[in-house]
């Protein structure tokens, strides 16, 4: 097959290239026979050189007797003596010492050899991002990078994702920085929910993020810089790690058209279980009535969701310029009826070279437009799922589906039709059709860059980028929506939010060699970042205010102005100077020194932070056994400063709706100057490759502490009227191991099996919270529910708190004489942090067939389900049905007054006390450990021979979240209600996790 392909290639190339007598030409291919574009050919000792075009074709002038040197990053260099032949085809194998040649994209988009890195950086190839596609590209990295925890929001398709690298280190934000071609991207969303009950402002909704809007097809790979050292050059923004995306570059010489089409089908998986044996008493909201068979209507409620992603790309390059264009269209429907998404991505990238290639100009622009209808919400308000799950059994769900509104003659309008008037459970179809919401996002990212190669050791580059994100949330709430949620004439909410980022930099790059043994690399530069996030105008006719004319959704139909306001989340500018240097000795010892000074508008004083790192290539320094190809040890110490929330040092008076108080919410404590947070991190690591690079491993240990956390404490009465003082206090520690193990288990001609294991363990500890805060910061307040999420001194980040049974010394539940259960006050019932994470990816090749399987495991940690608790208290859960069938709940309890043992309790009495969102929630805590088959793809590469005009084509069957190998919780613990800091480790009527299966088609012309 491969030979046929080769011949085909040669035949093909022969047609396009006219023979020239004095030149040598040929095709450079990899070990599989695939052409290698961009490989270098040079005449040894000479000036001449050439690179291959997209088809792997090269042409070079040479004389007989000279030696041609063929090189390609990652492959073994070959020297071939020129003979009589004018065609030399080269097949390049995996380099025996490829680790020495690997190039890694690092901070600011600068390329560095992997061997010289003093810190951990892990890469993903572009195909990893597109093989088993997700509408949000970042969801595809789950399990593929050690130390990176990926948690999806419950906002369904188009929702945001929480990415935490090496543990939560900050009270305010733990998300990494996304960087595209060296330029930081603004990853601002319109906000995250943090209310365990649900928001009256349209429900607990996911405000989205920007990374979910990018087109994965535009990128050829991703590098994750995990530690502080790696990200020191990004300063504040990089304090939580950096994820770098590299754009696909047009290949010189040939037009290239690629197209792909992915269709997946999603089904709701891992839903709660319901009873079908009992019905509700007439008129009751809760299903605690007589026995009576019912139908489980919940499954039928969910649709099969579909996602169709079509993407096309076109690129053409010449010696001096290149152009690439891409377009992608995503069209999806969710598992909840009425939920759909439409997304269009446009991208264009242009490069040009001037003055003998000394000046390189590049420009790119990306635009994304996305519209989501009825983005799923969680919590109790505006959530159709509560009505579906909790509907009093014995009612005909289908009747209410088909008649969610009926004519009301008194009002002469169509009114909601539902058997009860409860804010937490409307008719789900009314919620879908008559509380309709629309989220619109537009994202523009434009960048210009100019690079000037002054001479062979100095180049100067300057870049400028502009990001603009607008989000619109529009919700039309019709008259007769439940009264807690809406005015009797209906309610209209329209939120507009704008975020922008302007970034500019100027960087000089120096590459010098002193003598033969010493090399010196330096990047010295300055940058400016100006960010505005969520400049919002919120129009809300309100619940008591409402609309004048029913169901006329526009501003001038508002009864009053109290719900309308403008607000800005943040506005800041950071100016920086930085320098990063690498001293190399004999290509075996590298010393990194870097430093950065930031001036941030949010803190009064500028701040400096350094990093130092050292790498030694043991395999170069000493003679190791032959089976060891590569060995390296590295160590680094770095600090990163993180400026604080803006406006704090310059407070103004402001009033929010719902409060008539005009006062600054927060200001500095008198006599104190606010400082940036400071993260310090040690990291040690070692990397080895052996057995012809068939086996490789990398181990990193890190220990970081983030001090001077910005916290707010309730202010005593003060002149300015601050509610809170912003202070620097508190400290959070993270330490852990990461192991990356790669193995080429089988490397046969016909069959190969490659595997990668990513292991990471993070131990997190909140070392200090000031006493004014009582040693705790509540990230999510309990409100009226028995769930609270807090930072507690001495505990890992993110303690889940709830209420437990009060028990005696023998572990028996204490009961009162009136039959009620004694319960504790709020106490720790779990922790959201996993003990360790394990990802195991495998790729198989068998002839033209290929298969990939990713197993993703998260071990330890806890989650709470208020969904189960509430389903129990409403008597709809399977547990309550089983208990009633069994004649009660078996308990180990004792009457506190007289010591009478109680072994069974009436099901209703038990579940109404223990269940419920405000019940004994310690009983609804589950082990978050889960192991899932995260990604599977099985496909076939077509032979181009059989497909005229086509360079490559493949088809594959793909599956995501296929099934859990192990799971304790009644829902998918990898989904969070918020991708912010709060509402973690809990499910409150979140959208069920989906299993998706589909087909992926790729063609390149």
């Amino acid at each position: 097959m491969k030979k046929i392909f080769l011949i085909f290639m040669i035949a093909f190339t022969a047609q396009v290239s006219l023979a020239q007598v004095k030149s040598i030409k040929g095709v450079i291919t990899d070990s599989d026979g695939m052409p290698l574009p961009g490989a270098s050919v040079a005449v040894q000792g000479g000036q001449k050189g050439a690179t291959t075009d997209f088809d792997g074709l090269y042409t070079i002038e040479a004389q007989k007797g000279q030696t041609l040197v063929f090189t390609y990053v990652g492959l073994e260099t070959q020297n071939i003596l020129v003979g009589d032949a004018t065609t030399i085809n080269v097949k390049m194998g995996q380099a025996a010492s490829n680790a020495l040649n690997e190039v890694v994209v690092t901070s600011l988009g600068l390329k560095k050899t992997r061997k010289s890195l003093t810190y951990a950086a892990q890469e993903l190839k572009g195909e990893e991002l597109t093989r088993v596609r997700d509408a949000n590209v970042i969801n595809t990295i789950a399990g593929k990078i050690a130390g990176v925890a990926v948690t999806k929001s419950s906002g369904g398709t188009g929702g945001s994702t929480k990415v935490v690298i090496r543990g939560n280190s900050s009270v305010s934000n733990s998300q990494p920085l996304y960087v595209i071609d060296g330029i930081p991207m603004l990853n601002s969303g319109a906000g995250q929910p943090n209310d365990s009950f649900g928001s009256l402002s349209g429900g607990n909704r996911d405000g989205g993020d920007v990374i979910s809007l990018v087109n994965p097809d535009d990128y050829e790979g991703m590098t994750v810089l995990k530690g502080a050292a790696a990200s020191v050059l990004y300063g504040s923004q990089g304090a939580n790690g950096v994820i770098l995306l590299s754009s696909k570059k047009a290949k010189s010489g040939k037009a290239n058209i690629s197209a792909s089409s992915v269709t997946t089908f999603e089904e709701a998986a891992y839903m709660p279980k319901f009873q079908t044996d009992y019905i509700a008493a007439p008129g009751a909201d809760e299903t605690w009535g007589a026995a009576g068979k019912t139908k489980d209507h919940v499954k039928d409620f969910f649709d099969v969701g579909t996602t169709q992603i079509t993407s096309v790309g076109y690129s053409i390059g010449s010696e001096n310029s290149s152009t690439a264009f891409s377009y992608a269209n995503t069209s999806a429907t969710g598992i909840v009826p009425g939920n759909s998404l439409k997304k269009n991505n446009f991208g264009i990238r242009q490069t040009a070279k001037f003055f003998n290639d000394k000046l390189i100009f590049a420009a790119n622009a990306n635009y994304t437009s996305q519209t989501i209808a009825n983005k799923p919400v969680n919590g109790f308000y505006f959530n159709p799922l509560t009505g579906v799950y909790l509907m009093p059994r014995g009612n005909d769900f289908d009747y209410y589906k088909n008649n969610y509104e009926v004519f009301n003659p008194t009002r002469n309008l169509m009114a909601q039709n539902w058997m009860t008037n409860r804010d937490i459970m409307q008719n789900p179809y009314w919620a879908i059709n008559r509380n309709k919401s629309e989220d619109k996002n537009d994202f523009f990212n434009g960048a210009l860059s100019l690079t000037y190669k002054a001479n062979n050791w100095l180049s100067i580059a300057s870049r400028y980028s502009y990001n603009r994100v607008t989000s619109v949330f529009d919700k039309k709430i019709y008259a007769t929506t439940q009264g807690t949620l809406s005015h009797t004439n209906g309610r209209y909410i329209n939120e507009n939010s704008l975020s922008t980022q302007r970034y500019g930099d100027l960087i000089a790059t120096i590459n010098a060699k002193f003598a033969t043994d010493f090399t010196f690399n330096a990047n010295i530069g300055a940058s400016i970042t100006n960010t505005l996030t969520n400049d919002k105008t919120i129009l809300d006719s309100g619940i008591s205010g409402g609309l004048n004319v029913s169901n006329w959704f526009t501003l001038h139909n508002f009864n009053n102005n109290t719900g309308n306001y403008q607000t800005i989340d943040s506005q800041r500018e950071v100016q920086s100077v930085f320098a990063a240097t690498t001293f190399g000795y004999k290509d075996m010892l590298f010393l990194d020194l870097s430093g950065r000074n930031d001036w941030s508008s949010t803190v009064p004083d500028s701040y400096f932070y350094p990093s130092v790192g050292l790498t030694a290539l043991i395999s170069e320094m000493t003679t190791l056994p032959e089976w060891i190809n590569y060995g390296k040890v590295r160590g680094t110490y770095a600090q990163v400063g993180n400026d604080i929330y803006p406006f704090v040092t310059n407070p103004t008076y402001y009033a929010t709706p719902g409060s008539s108080a005009i006062n600054p919410k927060v200001g500095p404590r008198p006599g104190e100057t606010l400082k940036p947070e400071l993260k310090s991190e040690f990291e040690f690591g070692t990397e080895w490759r052996m057995f012809n690079n068939r086996l490789g491993f990398e181990i990193s240990y890190y220990n970081s502490e983030t001090k001077n956390q910005y916290l707010q404490v309730v202010a005593p009465v003060n002149d300015m009227g601050y509610d809170f003082f912003g202070i620097n206090a508190g400290s959070i520690e993270n330490k852990g191991f990461e192991v990356v193990l790669t193995g080429g288990i089988i490397r046969g001609d016909k069959f190969s099996w490659d595997t990668t294991v990513n292991f990471s363990q993070n131990k997190n500890k909140v070392k200090e919270i000031p006493t004014e805060l009582g040693g705790r910061v509540n990230l999510t307040e309990a409100g009226v529910n028995s769930y609270r999420y807090a930072l507690v001194e001495g505990k890992p980040y993110g303690v889940i708190e709830g209420i437990n049974f009060k028990k005696d010394d023998q572990g028996r539940i204490l009961l009162n004489d009136d039959g009620t259960i004694q319960k504790t006050e709020f106490e720790e019932v779990g922790n959201s942090n996993p003990d360790f994470m394990l990802g195991w990816s495998n790729s198989f090749k068998f002839g033209s067939f290929f298969a990939n399987v990713l197993i993703d495991g998260r071990f330890g940690g806890d989650v709470m389900s208020l969904t189960e608790a509430q389903n129990d208290s409403f008597g709809v859960s399977k547990a309550t049905g089983d208990a009633r069938n069994a004649g009660g709940v078996a308990i180990n309890a004792v009457r506190a007054s007289d010591g009478t043992a109680v072994t069974t309790m009436d099901a209703k009495s038990y579940y109404t006390q223990v269940g419920g969102r405000a019940g004994i929630t310690g009983e609804y805590v589950y082990d978050a450990t889960n192991v899932s088959v995260r990604e599977v793809s099985i496909g076939y590469n077509f032979s181009p021979k059989n497909l005229p005009f086509i360079q490559s084509a493949s088809i594959s069957l793909i599956a995501r979240n296929l099934f859990f190998i192990y799971k304790d919780a009644p829902f998918d613990p990898n989904i969070a209600l918020s991708t912010g800091q709060g509402l973690q480790g809990v499910d409150i009527y979140g959208l069920p996790s989906t299993r998706s299966i589909g087909l992926n088609l790729n063609v390149t012309f």
Binding site: G283, E573, N650
Partner: protein, 529 residues
């Protein structure tokens, strides 16, 4: 430093920045949507802005925050006073109404009082004391009005030590009451002086005043005097001597206490709706109490039809719901009588003029100099109340010595039925015992005060009147007596989390267990006379 400047200059030049340099950092770091402190000082807005949150949070009457009012007052004192009842079986029916006190609800009583009332009152004091004392005086009256509700709910509270760092010590209720009286002294003296000097107050405070007083200092003094009278009567069993002194001081003041319905203290909410309108009208979470049906129904009280809507389930009837019953379905009782005009009005009355008369009537009964005898003050109280509610037939009503409360009948669940328990007539009987006279006064005060459950619950605890139907379900775990009802609310979770030391001091000063059965300082377990 110099080097710093050089570097800064270097960046600016090197970037040829279009954004300027760090010179505009202050501008960038300022929220455009806010107002600067300098601008806010115009019109004394920096001081006046603190009044709004106090007015709006004595009872939480903020749009979209009806649920806070529900937790702050509606699901506790509005129900424990017998005024109202809920048809909803919150938390499986095991909640405040069945004496299982719900921490997750009751925390809002504390939180909103401190966050809004106390915080702003003390902030106004900081900005105005010694400089603009009229604001200080007004803030003190509002602070006492707001915070006496809190101590009457919990007992010891943070008061004199407010603003100190954790652990913040609690004051005993006696200490708190002594401060109330002192603060009213300061306020009354200052405002009286201003009136004497010819300053009515309208030009200064009218635009800020969300009460019905339109900024008039004289009206505020009358309110302060009546508030003093209320607080004096509250402590009559704990410190009778001080009670007499303070009560007589209030009545003897030259502006006196409230006399006509124009004097009553209300929050006029121009924008927001009454939370009861939402909770009763829209959520159907609160209904007429069975005690209201029994007592007002028994009297055929002409005010009844203004107080409640007729039941949509039993057209033409005023049907109340009994508190503390077994609730199988909300639908069973949700269409009983909803709250009428007082719950729908945008004027929320926190103290009626009738109350002043009933307080004076009780004072006269106790032999204090109240400027009248008990009978006439009692009857004036009823008359003023009829006037306030636009009800007719007051003469016949006052003279009625036949009708008493009627038995309560739950048309769906006879298990909830009860014979009448508050068996007094309306007509004054000079020959009756003081105890019966007091029962009549408090019964009429109770009717007149509707729907302000907080004060009615306090009176019920102090006097035991009017007699209310006991709960049928008591899930207090033995801490609260079915016969005596809830005496207080236990300290809140947020304080236990953030100020355990303070809570410990509060428990020590409470002198009993931190539960709903422990009596407060003024709630002395002794006869009324």
């Amino acid at each position: 430093m110099k080097l710093n400047k050089i570097t800064k200059a270097a960046i600016c030049i090197s970037l040829l920045s279009a954004f300027g340099c760090t010179d505009n950092f202050e501008e960038i770091n300022t929220n455009d949507q806010g107002i600067t402190p300098e601008l806010l000082e115009q019109d004394f807005n920096h001081i006046k802005q603190g009044f709004g949150p106090i007015f709006n949070n004595i009872q939480v009457i903020t749009a979209n925050f009806e649920w806070v009012y529900q937790l702050q007052q509606n699901l506790n004192s509005d129900i424990w006073s017998g005024y109202m009842a809920t048809p909803t079986g919150f938390a499986g029916g095991i909640n405040n109404t069945t004496y299982s006190l719900v921490d997750g609800w009751n925390g809002f009583i504390w939180e909103y009082a401190y966050k809004n009332v106390m915080y702003n009152a003390v902030h106004i004091e900081d900005l105005s004391k010694g400089k603009f004392d009229q604001f200080y005086a007004l803030s003190l009256i509002l602070k006492v009005e707001g915070m006496h509700r809190l101590t009457d709910t919990f007992g010891p509270i943070i008061y004199s030590k407010y603003g100190e760092l954790s652990p913040t010590e609690y004051d005993s209720q006696e200490e708190v009451y002594n401060q109330f009286f002192n603060e009213l002294d300061i306020a009354v003296a200052d405002l009286t002086q201003r009136v004497d000097d010819g300053d009515t107050g309208e030009s200064t405070f009218k635009s800020t005043d969300l009460s019905g007083y339109k900024g008039k200092y004289k009206q505020w003094v009358k309110f302060a005097n009546t508030l003093r009278l209320r607080l004096a009567m509250r402590i009559v069993k704990a410190n009778p001597a001080l009670a007499k002194i303070e009560a007589e001081k209030a009545v003897a003041h030259k502006f006196g206490v409230m006399q006509s319905n124009g004097d009553l203290f209300k929050i006029v909410s121009p924008v927001f709706t009454n939370p009861l309108a939402t909770i009763s009208g829209s959520w159907l979470d609160i209904r007429m109490g069975a005690d209201m049906e029994s007592i007002m129904g028994g009297y055929e009280d002409p005010r009844l039809e203004g107080y409640f809507d007729t039941s949509s389930q039993y057209p033409g009837e005023y049907k109340g719901v009994r508190t503390g019953i077994d609730i199988a379905a909300k639908a069973d009782h949700q269409n009983f009588s909803g709250i009428g005009a007082p719950g729908k009005s945008n004027e929320i009355v926190l103290m009626t003029a009738a109350e002043a008369y009933f307080l004076r009537a009780e004072g006269a009964l106790r032999g204090w100099d109240m400027g009248g005898d008990a009978k006439s003050l009692y009857e004036q109280g009823i008359t003023v109340s009829f006037g306030q509610r636009d009800a007719s037939g007051v003469v016949g009503y006052i003279a009625d010595n036949v009708k008493t409360a009627k038995a309560y009948v739950d048309p769906k669940f006879p298990v909830n039925n009860s014979p009448a328990v508050n068996n007094v007539t309306v007509a004054w009987d000079e020959a009756a015992t003081n105890e019966v006279k007091l029962q009549k006064i408090i019964t009429q005060k109770w009717i007149a005060g509707f729907p302000e459950g907080q004060e009615a619950w306090s009176d019920y605890r102090r006097t035991g009147y009017p007699k209310l139907f006991p709960v049928l379900k008591n899930y207090s775990g033995g801490t609260i007596s079915t016969e005596l009802g809830v005496r207080r609310i236990n300290f809140v979770q947020s304080e236990k989390d953030g100020n355990q030391g303070g809570v410990d001091s509060g428990i020590a000063k409470l002198g009993g267990s931190d539960n709903g059965g422990t009596r407060l300082w003024w709630d002395v377990d002794a006869p009324n006379f």
